[in-house]
Amino acid sequence: MATQSDTANTHTPKASRRDFLYVATGAVGAVGVAGAVWPLINQMNPDASVLALAQVDFDVSSIAEGSSVTIIWRGLPVFVRHRTAAEIEEARAVPLSELKDPESDDQRVKEGHEQWLIMIANCTHLGCVPVGESGNYDGWFCPCHGSHYDTAGRIRQGPAPTNLVVPEYEFLSDTMVRIG
């Protein structure tokens, strides 16, 4: 019987009070369901224990010139490279017009600490860790899909869209670095 009067209502040109109640009830229901679903999705986001590891301090003095170490920050590997003068020279000599993702060498290091190149060690293509001191540009080469990076970690050749990411960091002293 209810169905009959409903169908009759839809044929009347003016919306009835009942139509309004249907829509309003449905809307409240939808908001309620969305509110209940959100925490179930949000629980998948990085939790407090993951976020708590957002900063690391690292002493770079033990890294000899021309070598690099990989440290872990927020679960991600980070390259810390002590560049040689020749590497810095090579990076600076490249005109910006040749770069896929133009960035000067200065923009990728801290002033007064030009020998230290600190970058997240995941290829910007799909996240593999590139191999150091290799590739066509004396920097890094990603074995997964063949991206070549130069001595400033800038993308020069291959499918990666951008340069290796430089994380936020600061030098607390001459040798102490705080990443994050």
Binding site: P46, D47, V50, T70, I72, A121, C144, G146
Partner: protein, 416 residues
């Protein structure tokens, strides 16, 4: 085909009492035994039943493995070794599950390519086909997540590369990536949720399989000549004719399956996955499992920017597109003739498509350099051209060979 009435008649008061309340026996008899099935189905039609059995094998071995597996980054790798060495019969159960994934895909690909050749996607079976595509995509996701669970080097880097695909999404990419991983990198939260989903999704697949079979039982089976069933003379009851044929095919299928399990359980895997995951070192050559290779090749083939779409997003769009396009297949191939047997031109392009698919698989396992890069682009282009250009065009210009009047005529010759 509304003719599939069951000839079930309850014997005795108890059966009648049950039948009036829940006609489960009637339903089973109607759909699993008496169901009228074209009498000309060949062995390519047995892979549906093989897949059903493989799903059961994977679920049963999976449930058992979950009783011994520990989803934690410090323990997962060792717990899989523990299963293989210490658990009673664990070596065989683990091998069955791992090899079973590969065998599942063997059957799945044959089942799909059978449908492509015999036009099983055409009206009135479009929804049946689309449900199949959904199952295919779900099974790929399940297999991928299952491969992450042993937490070897390939597990970890496979997970890193594949989740990274989502970071190519414009604007929301990075937050989406963190949401999927539960962190800034693939880590313990990622492993935990993959385990949870790897356990859940097979049951979702089972539910979609029920819909798939339901959608099959509305129009009934397609058949090798693609001509509709015209009378009861064209069909035989599913049981015993096809239950026995399917059973025989399952036994034959289990022979290579058993060979892998007992004699070469690791031959389909990668040695790198017997090294525990290490976030600081990427294996020199990351390769997905063989059954994902064709789509991996398509992902890698786009290494150039198209307008405002950069190469990475382009690759992701191409890979997603290669699957999504399957949903539209029933409307891309407009030829009214279902079976490829009667389509002389279609046949050529179809077999070229099969070869091309094998080439895509081969290329996925090769490094992205030299001639492989060019070949990957060519075969990716053919994959899409087959659906978007060749099939629509063929349905306009091709003259099919004359069709037999009925299934009976094709089986028994012109005399009838």
């Amino acid at each position: 085909m509304s003719s599939h009435e069951s000839n079930y008649s309850p014997t005795g008061p108890v059966e009648r009492w049950v039948d009036e309340r829940l006609p489960l026996v009637r339903f089973a008899k109607e759909h699993l035994m008496d169901f009228p099935t074209p009498k000309n189905l060949n062995y390519w039609w047995t892979f549906g039943a093989i897949l059903a059995i493989m799903l059961v094998v994977q679920i049963v071995t999976g449930i058992v493995l979950a009783m011994h597996y520990t989803p934690h980054i410090d323990l997962a790798f060792d717990s899989v070794e523990h299963i293989r060495r210490d658990v009673n019969g664990g070596r065989i159960i683990q091998a069955t599950h791992a090899v079973g994934a590969s065998m599942f895909f063997v059957a799945l690909y044959i089942h799909i390519f059978r449908g492509l050749y015999f036009g099983s996607y055409k009206a009135p079976r479009e929804i049946l086909w689309m449900l199949g595509v959904i199952i295919f995509i779900l099974v790929m996701a399940i297999a991928f997540m299952g491969y992450v669970l042993p937490w070897g080097q390939m597990s970890f880097w496979g997970a890193t590369v594949i989740t990274n695909i989502f970071s190519a999404v414009p604007v929301a990419g990075e937050p989406l990536l963190q949401l999927l991983r539960g962190g800034f990198a693939v880590d313990n939260p990622t492993l935990n949720r993959f385990f949870s989903l790897h356990y859940l999704l097979p049951f979702v697949v089972a539910a979609v399989v029920v819909l798939h079979i339901w959608a099959l039982h509305v129009p009934g089976n397609n058949n090798p000549i693609g001509v509709d069933v015209k009378s009861s003379r064209d069909t035989v009851p599913f049981h015993p004719y096809y239950t026995m044929k399917d059973l025989f095919a399952i036994v034959v299928f289990f022979i290579p399956f058993a060979w892998f399990v007992f004699f070469a359980p690791d031959i389909l895997g990668h040695p790198d996955n017997y090294i525990q995951a290490n976030a600081q070192i990427t294996p020199a050559h990351i390769v997905p499992e063989w059954y994902l290779l064709p789509f991996y090749t398509i992902l890698r083939a786009i290494d150039f920017n198209v307008l405002f779409i950069d190469s990475r997003l382009g690759g992701v769009i191409a890979m997603a597109g290669s699957l999504v396009i399957l949903f539209f297949l029933p409307w891309l191939d407009r030829s009214r003739v279902r079976s490829g047997t009667f389509r002389p031109m279609f046949k050529i392009f179809y077999w070229l498509f099969v070869v091309n698919f094998l080439v895509l698989t081969y290329l996925g396992a090769q490094p992205a350099e030299g001639i492989y890069v060019l070949l990957a682009k060519i075969s990716t282009a053919y994959y899409f051209a087959y659906f978007l250009i060749i099939l629509p065009l063929l349905s306009r210009i091709e003259t099919p060979r004359p069709l037999p009047a009925s299934i009976s005529e094709s089986v028994l010759g012109k005399a009838h």
